[in-house]
C-alpha cells in the first residue's frame, strides 16, 4: 500500500540551500543522468522506452503520454531537434512549477538533459514566464552550475553527447502557455497559436521537430530513470500512473503543495491541510485551474486522476485545487475569470476575441443585478458559439467556469436579478475578514 503522500519532486526541498548543485547532488541528484548516459542503459531509445513504460502523462494539464510524444519525433528528419520546456505557468490557480524551480531547479535541469538526450536534441530551451524574477535567477544559476560541472556543454561526461540550454524569459502573456503560442514567443513574435497540423513534433521551433513538455513532466524523468519505470507505475491508478504535486489554495487552513500519487481525493487533501478555514463549508472548487469546470462538495471523493475527474464532468488539468467556501459569490468568481480570458485572448480567432468580450458584458450586467433569466440562456448560447471554434483551447477554457457555475449555482445567478444585486459581502471572504462577517 503506497503512502498517502509520496515526496519525490519535493523530497529535497527542505534540504539546506536545496537550489544549489552541491545540495542537489548530496541528495542523490544527477544519478539519473549518469545512468541514462551510461552505454549499458541502451542509449536514447532505451530512455524513451523507460518513459513510455512508466506511463507518465503530461503534467501541464492535457495528460498526453510523455513517452509517446517523444516517439513522434521523426528521427530521420535531417533538421536539428529541440526540447522546449513550458515553464510559463499562468493558468489561474496553478502554482506547482514555480515553487519547484525555486526550491530545486536542478531537478528540472537534470530532466532537461536526460529528455534532450532521449529525443537526440542538442539544444534545449526553458521558457519561463517573465513575472517570476527570483525563479528565473535560480534557473539561470542552476544552468550555469550544470555547465561548470560538465553536465551541460560538449561531450557530457565523456558520452559524446552535446547539449546547450538557454533560459528564456517571457514577457507577460497567458496565451504563451499554449505550446504553439509559446513557440511563436520563443521565435520573437507575437504569441499567437498556430494551426495544427503540423504538430510541433514534426514542425515546431524553426519548423524543426520539437518536443514541448511541462516543467513537472520533465522534472519527473530523472526519478523514472534512476528508480525504474515499474517503480513509477507502482504509484497512481490504472491509467494515471505516478505522483504529482497537488496545489491547494483558497479557504483551506494550510494552503500549499502536497505531492501524492494520482488518485488521491480532495477530501484527503483537505484533511491533510487542516480542514476548511474557520470550519466553514466548501462551496466550489477547481480541480485543475480555472479552465477546468468547477466542482462542488458533492465531488470530494472523486479520485483525482485523469479518468476520475473526467467522469465527474471536469478535467484533472494542473491539479490546481482552488477552494472557495460558502462566503464566496459564484457569480463574482465567474465574472472575474471571464474578464481574465477576455484580457488574455490573443485576438487571432474571432469567436474567442469577440466572444469573451460579449461574455463579460452579459455577466457583468447579471452580477450587478440588472439582468434577467433570459440572460442565462444567452450566456449559455454564447458559450455554445465559442466552444471548439478556435485554434487553441483558451476559448474552451473561458466557457468552463460559466457553464459549470450555471449548472451548479443557477439559483444564485437568479438571486442577483431578483434581489437587484449581489447578496454576498465580499469582506467576508477575505483572509483578513473581520470577526462576525458572514456569508449574507
Amino acid at each position: 500500500m503506497t503512502d498517502t503522500l509520496t515526496p519525490v519532486l519535493t523530497r529535497n526541498w527542505d534540504a539546506d540551500r536545496s537550489w544549489t548543485l552541491a545540495s542537489y547532488e548530496a541528495q542523490g541528484g544527477y544519478a539519473g543522468l549518469k545512468k541514462a548516459l551510461a552505454p549499458e542503459f541502451g542509449g536514447p531509445d532505451a530512455v524513451v522506452s523507460a518513459v513510455k513504460d512508466s506511463g507518465l502523462r503530461g503534467r501541464g494539464g492535457a495528460g498526453f503520454p510523455t513517452g509517446m510524444k517523444w516517439g513522434f519525433i521523426p528521427q530521420d528528419n535531417p533538421k536539428p531537434k529541440y526540447l522546449v520546456v513550458n515553464a510559463d505557468e499562468s493558468e489561474p490557480g496553478t502554482c506547482k512549477d514555480i515553487p519547484l524551480m525555486m526550491a530545486s531547479p536542478h531537478t528540472l535541469v537534470e530532466g532537461v538533459i536526460i529528455s534532450s538526450f532521449a529525443i537526440r536534441a542538442n539544444q534545449a530551451f526553458i521558457y519561463i514566464r517573465g513575472e517570476v524574477l527570483h525563479v528565473i535567477r535560480r534557473v539561470q544559476r542552476a544552468v550555469q552550475e550544470a555547465y561548470l560541472a560538465g553536465h551541460l556543454g560538449k561531450n557530457i561526461h565523456g558520452s559524446g553527447y552535446d547539449l546547450d540550454v538557454v533560459v528564456h524569459a517571457g514577457a507577460g502573456a497567458y496565451i504563451c502557455g499554449e505550446e504553439t503560442a509559446l513557440l511563436e514567443g520563443l521565435e520573437g513574435r507575437r504569441g499567437q497559436p498556430r494551426l495544427r497540423p503540423p504538430f510541433p513534433a514534426v514542425a515546431g521551433l524553426y519548423a524543426s521537430p520539437t518536443v514541448i513538455n511541462n516543467v513537472e513532466s520533465i522534472a519527473s524523468v530523472p526519478s523514472i530513470i534512476d528508480n525504474g519505470a515499474a517503480w513509477f507505475s507502482s504509484m497512481g491508478t490504472e491509467r494515471s500512473k505516478g505522483f504529482g504535486i497537488f496545489s491547494l489554495s483558497g479557504h483551506v487552513t494550510n494552503p500549499g503543495q502536497y505531492e501524492a500519487p494520482l488518485g488521491i481525493t480532495l477530501r484527503t487533501l483537505i484533511d491533510l491541510a487542516g480542514g476548511m478555514r474557520g470550519g466553514r463549508q466548501l462551496k466550489f472548487w477547481t480541480p485543475g485551474g480555472s479552465s477546468t469546470p468547477m466542482l462542488t462538495a458533492e465531488h470530494l471523493d472523486v479520485p483525482l486522476d485523469f479518468e476520475g475527474v473526467g467522469a465527474a464532468g471536469s478535467m484533472l488539468g494542473t491539479r490546481a485545487l482552488q477552494l472557495f467556501d460558502e462566503t464566496v459569490c459564484a457569480v463574482r468568481a465567474t465574472l472575474r475569470w471571464t474578464e481574465f480570458y477576455k484580457h488574455e485572448s490573443c485576438g487571432k480567432c474571432t469567436p474567442c476575441r469577440e466572444g469573451t468580450w460579449w461574455l463579460v458584458q452579459t455577466l457583468a450586467r447579471l452580477e450587478k443585478g440588472q439582468g434577467s433569466e433570459a440572460d442565462l440562456d444567452l450566456l449559455l448560447d454564447q458559450c455554445d458559439n465559442i466552444l471548439g471554434r478556435s485554434f487553441c483551447a483558451l476559448a474552451d477554457g473561458a466557457v468552463s467556469p460559466i457553464q459549470s457555475s450555471i449548472q451548479y449555482f443557477r439559483d444564485e445567478f437568479v438571486e442577483h436579478f431578483t434581489s437587484g444585486g449581489c447578496p454576498f459581502d465580499p469582506a467576508a471572504s477575505t483572509l483578513f475578514a473581520p470577526a462576525g462577517a458572514s456569508a449574507s
Binding site: 527542505d14 544549489t20 514567443g185 520573437g188 496545489s247 502536497y258 488574455e344 483572509l431
Partner: protein, 247 residues
C-alpha cells in the same frame, strides 16, 4: 516583512534616449544565444527597458537594426506583451493580483486601498513627494502562480506573499521612502530596471538570497516527514511493469 535597510537607492537621472555602444553589444550578445537571432527579441526588449525605463522608439529601432527587421515588426511584438511598457515605469512596479482567488482572499481590497493611498489608477505612477527616494507604479495583475500565498502582491516581479491592505500600504511607503524591502521569498528588491536586466539574461548574482520556499511550499513535505511517508523503495518494486501499464 519589510525590513529597513541602509542600502541607498540610486537617484534616477534623466533618461537617455540613445542606445549606446555597450547596449548595442549586449543586444547582439542576446541575439547570439539563439540558433536564429530573432528568438532574442523578447529578452532584447527587456534589456531596452532596463536601459530606458520603458520600450522607447530608439530601443525599437535598435532591436530592429540588430535583427534585420522593420521597426513596425518589433513594435508589433512589443505591444503584444503586458510586461513591455510604453510609458515610464517607477523605480518599483507594484502589481496586485486581482484574479479570482487572490481577489476573493483580499486582492480587491488591497488594490482599492493602494489606489486610494497612492492616489493613482491602474497602470499609473504615483507622484514623487519631496521626502521620497523612489517612485512607485501600480497595476493589477493576473495570476502569478503563488495562489498558496494569496493574496499576492508582486514588486518588480518579486513575491510579497500573504498581504493585507495594511501591510501593502506599509510596503509602498517603505518603497517610496527608500527604506529597502526584502521579498518574502527572495532578495532585497532591486529597481525595476535592474530586474529587467536579469530578465534579459544577465544574472545579478542574487540567486542564493532567500529561502527555498515559504511555509505553504513546504507544508506537504513536512507532513510526510512527520508521518514517515515516502515514495516506495525502488528495491521493493517488481522489476517489470505490470501488464497494461504501458500506455
Amino acid at each position: 516583512m519589510s525590513t529597513p535597510m541602509s542600502t541607498p537607492i540610486s537617484v534616477p537621472v534623466t533618461t537617455p534616449t540613445v542606445i549606446d555602444d555597450t547596449t548595442y553589444a549586449e543586444l547582439r550578445e542576446i541575439a547570439a544565444r539563439y540558433p536564429q537571432a530573432r528568438s532574442g527579441l523578447l529578452p532584447m526588449l527587456h534589456l531596452v527597458q532596463s536601459v530606458h525605463g520603458r520600450v522607447t522608439p530608439e530601443g525599437i529601432e535598435a532591436c530592429a537594426e540588430v535583427l534585420g527587421l522593420s521597426a513596425a515588426e518589433v513594435s508589433g511584438v512589443a505591444t503584444f506583451y503586458t510586461m513591455f511598457k510604453r510609458k515610464p515605469v517607477g523605480d518599483y512596479l507594484v502589481g496586485v493580483c486581482t484574479n479570482t482567488l487572490c481577489a476573493v482572499m483580499g486582492g480587491d481590497a488591497i488594490f482599492d486601498r493602494l489606489k486610494e493611498h497612492l492616489d493613482v489608477g491602474n497602470d499609473e505612477t504615483a507622484e514623487r513627494r519631496p521626502q521620497d527616494a523612489a517612485t512607485v507604479s501600480l497595476e493589477h495583475i493576473e495570476c502569478n502562480a503563488a495562489c498558496d500565498y494569496a493574496p499576492v502582491v508582486m514588486v518588480n516581479w518579486e513575491f510579497m506573499d500573504n498581504q493585507t491592505p495594511e501591510s501593502a500600504t506599509q510596503l509602498v511607503d517603505d518603497l517610496r521612502t527608500g527604506a529597502g524591502v526584502r521579498s518574502t521569498r527572495g532578495p532585497r528588491i532591486c529597481s525595476w530596471r535592474q530586474a529587467e536586466r536579469v530578465l534579459a539574461g544577465f544574472n545579478d548574482g542574487q540567486a542564493d538570497e532567500g529561502p527555498a520556499g515559504g511555509a505553504p511550499t513546504m507544508h506537504g513535505l513536512g507532513i510526510a516527514r512527520d508521518r514517515g511517508w515516502t515514495a516506495p523503495d525502488p528495491a521493493s518494486v517488481p522489476a517489470q511493469p505490470q501488464e497494461g501499464d504501458s500506455k
